[in-house]
């Protein structure tokens, strides 16, 4: 007994030494505290060529490396950045004046040609770049993207470089929202140097923004950027350098934020939101984003053809209860097709049809003749929360409308959109929309416009969108979009559910954090000197 006890004690001592001795210093940032640089938690970007990525992680990095023609203020209004002005008399031919004193990180001047080169490359089909379709409304797009065979041209005929500081863009149809779209990363310029070796450029992009790459992109580990020596724009960086640290798991990133090993995290997991709020206090920031969840109906299935039935579904769903249960109350129930950050948003656009009222819902449902057969609910397996909220929806429909036979159709994520595109669904499905730019048009036209997924057709709606798109100004377009939204809500081919919220947190070292739905504004952040 004595021997084993002594051995156990020795082992315990050895373990303690092992643990204590090799603990290292978890707060490696202590040494860096004086340095005016900080770190941002991120997930590995797919690409760093502005035309070839729509990943929000890539965009966080590119937003630091590039100035697009226009930037978006906290309220979604366009502010001129690389452009001096964006004007048009007919909303079809647009003149973009480029600021003349700007340079790329390699010293090359930013001219109208830099924008034209970048946009042409993105629109050129054979390049296979992700943001290709953003240029579909520029004249000459079809010649670069033929259905069959090689393209006849490699430059958009609608892009005309008038002189070094003037770019003229001709669209296929009037589009009043064009200035807002110019804030998207696909519209960033690229220097001549990029086109010598596009693959190398993707690994080490040269931009015109407040930061420049500092060293190579260390895949799955980090990307370091430092303050640009050549930048003369409005977003001059206050910090010396920023390190983007790559995380495979949000939970781990959040643990590292708590341990002080990373300074800014923009994706705190919903399950940790309450705790983060308590621990971080005013360093926890919740921002309503542009992402919306909807429940869509396949109108090509006759059973869903009646608007009353669809409204009854909407009134039978207790959005607040689901948001509280599944998303810890961090998402916001919606009575609008547009996200709150979008100009033209009305909190109560939907009216009674989006208010939870089981009695009225049942009445409306019976009036509409009810529903026969199996109700299949479609969603993907991309995130477990989808199944959770669909289950809640199913329970409420069962309880409030008396639909007994409800089945779940959980589709593999990679197959989900194909299923919807081919119209294989025969029941309500989860629809999700990530905003590209804050305009009602971005939501309404792509989801309810011609050729939409639901198979919904409404001439009045289409006509209103066309009018709004050719309205003389952004302000003048909003009432027209709202009228169109009213029609889509009255017909309810798709039920608005809730708006996503981004939960961010930052360390006590940082000051000047100004997060908006559109940008992390890394250039405003500095490290406290204590």
């Amino acid at each position: 007994m004595r021997v084993s006890r002594r051995r156990a004690a020795a082992l315990a001592a050895a373990m303690t030494m092992l643990i204590g001795g090799c603990g290292g210093s978890p707060s490696g940032s202590d040494g860096k505290a004086e340095a005016n640089e900080f770190s941002v938690a991120l997930t590995e970007p797919d690409h760093l060529t502005p035309g070839n990525t729509s990943s929000s992680y890539s965009i966080t990095v590119l937003d630091a490396l590039f100035d697009t023609p226009v930037h978006l203020g906290a309220d979604g209004t366009p502010v001129m950045a690389a452009a001096e002005s964006v004007t048009s008399t007919d909303q079809k031919v647009w003149t973009i004046k480029i600021k003349s004193d700007r340079r790329f990180a390699n010293g090359e001047p930013v001219t109208a040609q830099s924008f034209a080169d970048s946009w042409n490359a993105t629109a050129y089909g054979p390049n296979g770049w992700t943001n290709n379709y953003y240029f579909a409304n520029v004249e000459g797009y079809d010649a670069l993207n033929p259905e069959e065979g090689e393209p006849a041209a490699d430059k958009l005929s609608g892009l005309e470089v008038v002189d070094d500081t003037t770019l003229r863009v001709t669209l296929t149809a009037p589009f009043s929202q064009f200035p807002i779209t110019l804030a998207y990363i696909a519209f960033a310029p690229m220097p001549k140097a990029a086109f010598a070796d596009l693959e190398a450029y993707d690994q080490a992009p040269i931009g015109n923004g407040p930061f420049v790459m500092d060293g190579a992109w260390e895949h799955n580990k980090q990307i370091r950027v430092k303050r640009s020596p050549t930048y003369t724009g409005e977003r001059a960086a206050k910090a010396d350098a920023v390190t983007f640290k790559m995380y495979a798991s949000r939970d781990t990133a959040y643990t590292d934020l708590r341990a002080g090993r990373v300074d800014l995290l923009q994706t705190i997991p919903p399950a940790s939101a309450a705790e983060a709020k308590r621990l971080l206090g005013d360093r926890f920031v919740a921002i309503a984003g542009g992402t919306m969840d909807y429940l869509g109906f396949p109108l090509f299935d006759k059973r869903f053809a009646g608007a009353d039935l669809r409204r009854a579904f909407s009134m039978a769903i207790d959005r607040q209860a689901i948001v509280d249960a599944v998303y810890d109350g961090t998402f916001q129930p919606m009575a609008s097709l547009l996200a709150p950050v979008v100009p033209g948003y009305r909190a109560d656009a939907c009216g009674a049809a989006c208010v939870y009222d089981p009695a009225k819902a049942k009445q409306l449902y019976d009036q509409a003749g009810g529903f026969s057969g199996t109700l299949n609910l479609y969603f993907s397996n991309a995130d477990p929360s989808y199944e959770q909220w669909m289950t809640a929806v199913a329970n409420q429909l069962k309880q409030n409308l008396g639909i007994a036979d409800i089945k779940f159709r959980k589709i593999p994520a990679s197959d989900y959109l194909t299923t919807l595109r081919q119209r294989k669904e025969d029941g309500p499905y989860r629809q999700n929309w990530v905003m590209d730019y804050p305009s009602p048009q971005n939501y309404l036209e792509y989801q309810w416009g011609e050729g939409n997924r639901m198979g919904w057709e409404n001439k009045e709606f289409d006509a209103l969108l066309e009018q709004a798109n050719s309205a003389p100004s952004l302000e003048a377009s909003l009432p027209l979009y709202q009228k169109a939204e009213d029609i889509a809500l009255a017909e309810m081919p798709m039920i608005p559910l809730w708006n996503w919220q981004d939960q961010s947190g930052f360390s006590a070292r940082l000051q000047g954090v100004e997060l908006t739905p559109y940008s992390a504004n890394l250039h405003t952040i500095t490290v406290k000197r204590s």
Partner: protein, 309 residues
């Protein structure tokens, strides 16, 4: 030597069969990987076709596999959908996983055998009971629970280890994940050692050795333990392959950019070349580990190698 050569020859069909099965499994996964990459955004047909051509997604399975294998023998493991060379990708990640697996393996070996010996020598004693209870607990609790708990308690609250990442390098960054990853195998090693030792201590040759007046340390250390280690060596050999392959969860929790993380991401993106590339290398490691185990047997028990010669 002939034995080793025969084992190597056996590995060739194993190699082709496993890689083909894995390639076919990735191939038949539902959905279009290119469309999935684009998410909810429309993809023009032209872009779609270019991407499908680039990754040969329009070819039948056998042609794709043949083309891939041809590349492998020329040292080309293909490229990912984001345009990275798989060989480069694995080069970076391989080192991380190897360091993690080795740390876990050494932890398993040293602490596992140590605990097993302590428990086995004092069968029924307090230490034995503690080891039995502890290992049962470790085997019962899923690795992600152990991982997150260790990360929060030892990493975040006590600050003994870095919480995640590889910033501190080896060994500091790998100790905690290594211990978590190795905890499961450690429990097995401890139990195997204990059981085998208990049995051997009762064997005739041990009694004879003790009767000859040999010192206890020598009886246990040279005679009993050496024989007891045969099942343990088998387990440790196979487990090294497991550690390399099974680090998906641990690498995720501790944000180590290793092979496991890569395979997980690649299966989701249906990146056949990456999954097959990793599997190919893992198959080779398994084969090598098994070979090493067989050769080690001979050293521990000469009867085995003689019987086979």
């Amino acid at each position: 030597m002939r034995y080793a050569a025969r084992r190597l020859a056996q590995a060739v069909p194993v190699f082709f069969a496993t890689t083909f099965v894995i390639y076919a499994m990735v191939f038949v996964l539902p959905g279009d990987p290119i469309l999935a990459l684009a998410g909810d955004k429309p993809v023009p047909d032209q872009v779609l076709n270019v991407m499908r051509e680039r990754y040969h997604l329009n070819d039948p399975l056998l042609v794709q596999y043949g083309r891939y294998m041809l590349g492998v023998f020329q040292g080309d493991l293909g490229e990912t959908f984001t345009g990275q060379q798989v060989s480069e990708l694995l080069q970076d990640r391989w080192a991380v996983t190897a360091q993690l697996a080795l740390t876990a393996w050494v932890f398993e070996l040293v602490v596992g055998i140590g605990l097993g010996v302590v428990a086995g020598l004092r069968r029924g004693g307090a230490a034995d009971t503690a080891v039995l209870a502890g290992t049962t607990f470790v085997i019962a609790v899923p690795v992600f629970v152990v991982g997150y708990t260790a990360q929060i308690v030892l990493g975040l609250n006590l600050g003994l280890f870095p919480t995640a990442g590889t910033d501190e390098g080896w060994p500091a960054s790998y100790l905690l994940p290594g211990m978590v990853l190795g905890s499961f195998g450690l429990a097995y090693v401890a139990r195997l050692t204990r059981t085998a030792l208990v049995e051997n201590l009762r064997a005739d040759y041990v009694r004879t050795a003790t009767a000859k007046g040999m010192r206890r340390r020598r009886v246990v250390g040279v005679h009993a333990l050496r024989n007891s280690l045969i099942p343990v060596v088998t387990f440790l050999g196979i487990d090294f392959g497991n550690l390399m392959a099974g680090a998906v969860v641990t690498e995720g929790i501790f944000n180590l950019p290793g092979i496991g993380q890569q395979v997980f991401q690649s299966i989701q993106l249906q990146e056949g070349p990456v999954v097959v590339g990793v599997a190919t290398l893992l198959v080779m490691i398994f084969i090598a580990a098994n070979l090493a185990v067989d050769l080690l047997y001979g050293l521990l028990d000469p009867r085995i190698s003689r019987a086979r010669a």
